[in-house]
């Protein structure tokens, strides 16, 4: 594992996430992860590409603890937050503010809650929208609200499962820009692992990796991986 560039000065021992020979099979016997070994060395935007069924979403479910690995070891030093492809699947309450409140720690003082909510909304460009009903938001706004939820939960590891798949180009750019800002320009840079099928998004990554048949390759420069995969994508049609 040799990432091309990192978001900060992380040492080799202070990995944010490390998978060591992790295996996972579905009850049907189908292997989803096969001796998967990789690590995320530091904050930044890390992208995963791979064909459908290669095990990308399963990897996220293992990180969040929704699934348990059959064998191997998963070390995660940060609080993860999973973001789904369709934000409607994870925005569970009627208005923006209450959905964010659901993400806050239960024991947090009542007086501190409004500030945290407003900060989270401000960071994703949805200022003063805490009272807006969620069904009135556009797809891009919903995705950014889901991102605000991750911020409110004080998660430091974002797991983004094709967050731009259902969005128009303008909303895709807005979501990507927000995540990049969170990963690079904040006082406390976050770590984001981004699954994508849009190869052009790879050039925004700090590192990119290809997943195949439940195994991960090595970290590469996003643009290089994009250039390598694009001819294959064109050939496949």
């Amino acid at each position: 594992m040799n990432p091309p560039r990192t978001g900060n000065k992380a040492s080799a021992d202070s990995h944010i996430l490390r998978f060591q020979k992790v295996c996972f099979s579905w009850p049907s016997g189908e292997k989803a992860l096969d001796n998967c070994t990789f690590s995320i060395p530091g904050p930044g935007l890390w992208m995963l590409v791979g064909a459908n069924g290669s095990g990308k979403s399963t990897l996220f479910k293992l990180i969040t603890g929704l699934l348990k690995a059959d064998t191997g070891k998963i070390d995660c030093n940060h609080k993860p937050c999973l973001m789904f492809q369709n934000p409607d699947h994870q925005l569970l309450l009627p208005t923006c503010g209450s959905d964010l409140l659901l993400n806050l720690p239960e024991k947090l003082k009542t007086q501190k809650r409004p500030n945290l909510i407003q900060n989270a909304l401000h960071q994703v460009g949805l200022k003063n929208m805490e009272y807006r009903p969620i069904h009135t938001l556009s797809g891009g706004q919903k995705q950014r609200l889901a991102l605000a939820g991750a911020l409110a939960s004080q998660a430091t590891l974002l797991l983004l499962d094709e967050p731009t798949a259902l969005l128009d180009p303008a909303s895709q750019a807005a979501v990507l820009e927000t995540v990049k800002t969170l990963c690079h320009h904040c006082e406390n840079p976050m770590t984001a692992i981004w699954i994508t099928h849009r190869l052009e998004e790879l050039e925004h990554a700090d590192g990119a990796i290809k997943m195949e048949k439940g195994r991960l390759g090595s970290w590469q420069n996003g643009t290089k991986l994009m250039n390598r995969l694009q001819p294959l994508a064109v050939r496949q049609g």
Binding site: N86, P94, T95, G97, S98, L101, L102
Partner: protein
């Protein structure tokens, strides 16, 4: 989501204009209960008073007209349609022989009671059909008045509350009223959380149905060519798909909840409304006193 955006009836609309938004949601619920309950066994005067009172509240609410004119118009049309039905539908077949003798049999007797019939429209001949006679009597006028005012006050008062109260606040208010039931083991927190999840789930179900209908229309299905059996099979298959999609959404929602590590939150923790300031405290006090006053007026003059 088009339906939800185009017909915002009974849905909260975010904003800050209007004193109704700053009123305590428990008081708003109390006012709505007043509009729902006090017409029971009340006289016509009280019902008309309530309808005009509600109209006054609407016009004085300072809510943007674009928010309430459509629901108000629909409530008025519905109330008037049901009122007209009540007005013209027969109150029942009159008995063949009246229980009392005709007053004309008594020479010099003065009939001081009003005629039972107010208006009688002779039978109308519409081609081969004969319509009527249409009789409007005291009973039908009373029925029309009761029905139309009740429908209007019930529909519009609830709608006005829903337009100006965030769902979280409403659920919290309901929980506050039923909180004594926790003493006998009713899981209030769980119920309120499930109600909130359901309120978010409703637009999703509506969206699923809309998507399925769009998918159907894009296939240019001709119902006439399908016949009864084919059409019925089509309806069944769409309903099956709708159910499967709804269950899938519910499953994904459950996954999201598990991923957040949250399985239950009390309603008061999910309220987004800011704490009441001095003005809203006065507003709550005045509206609370008015509510008590209206209930006492109902006790004294409600039968009129």
């Amino acid at each position: 989501m088009d339906w939800l955006r185009q017909v915002p009836i009974g849905q909260y609309v975010a904003g800050s204009a209007s004193w109704l938004r700053h009123m305590d949601s428990r008081l708003k619920l109390g006012w709505v209960l007043m509009f729902l309950m006090t017409p029971i066994l009340a006289g016509a005067f009280w019902r008309i008073f309530l309808a005009f009172g509600l109209l006054t509240i609407t016009f004085a609410s300072c809510l943007p007209v674009r928010i309430w004119w459509r629901p108000l118009l629909l409530a008025l049309i519905l109330a008037m349609a049901l009122g007209l039905l009540g007005l013209f539908l027969p109150m029942g077949e009159p008995p063949g022989v009246m229980a009392f003798r005709s007053p004309q049999e008594l020479p010099g007797a003065n009939l001081i009671s009003d005629s039972w019939e107010s208006v009688r429209i002779a039978p109308l001949q519409l081609g081969p059909f004969s319509l009527g006679p249409l009789v409007i009597g005291k009973g039908s006028v009373e029925l029309a008045l009761n029905t139309s005012t009740l429908i209007f006050t019930v529909v519009h008062s609830v709608n006005l509350m829903l337009l100006t109260t965030p769902p979280e606040d409403l659920v919290w208010a309901i929980c506050w009223f039923i909180s004594p039931l926790a003493l006998i083991g009713v899981p209030i927190e769980r119920l309120s959380f499930q109600l909130l999840l359901a309120l978010r789930f409703l637009p999703l179900v509506q969206e699923e149905l809309q998507n399925l209908l769009r998918a159907l229309s894009s296939r240019a299905v001709n119902i006439r060519e399908l016949g009864f059996k084919g059409s019925f099979a089509l309806i069944l298959s769409v309903a099956e798909r709708l159910l499967a999609n709804i269950l899938l959404r519910a499953d994904q929602g459950a996954d999201a909840l598990m991923a957040r590590g949250v399985l239950l939150r009390p309603a008061y923790q999910l309220r987004t409304k800011p704490l009441p300031n001095r003005a809203s405290r006065w507003l709550n006090l005045v509206s609370g006193i008015l509510l008590v006053l209206v209930f006492s007026l109902r006790g004294k003059y409600g039968d009129l």
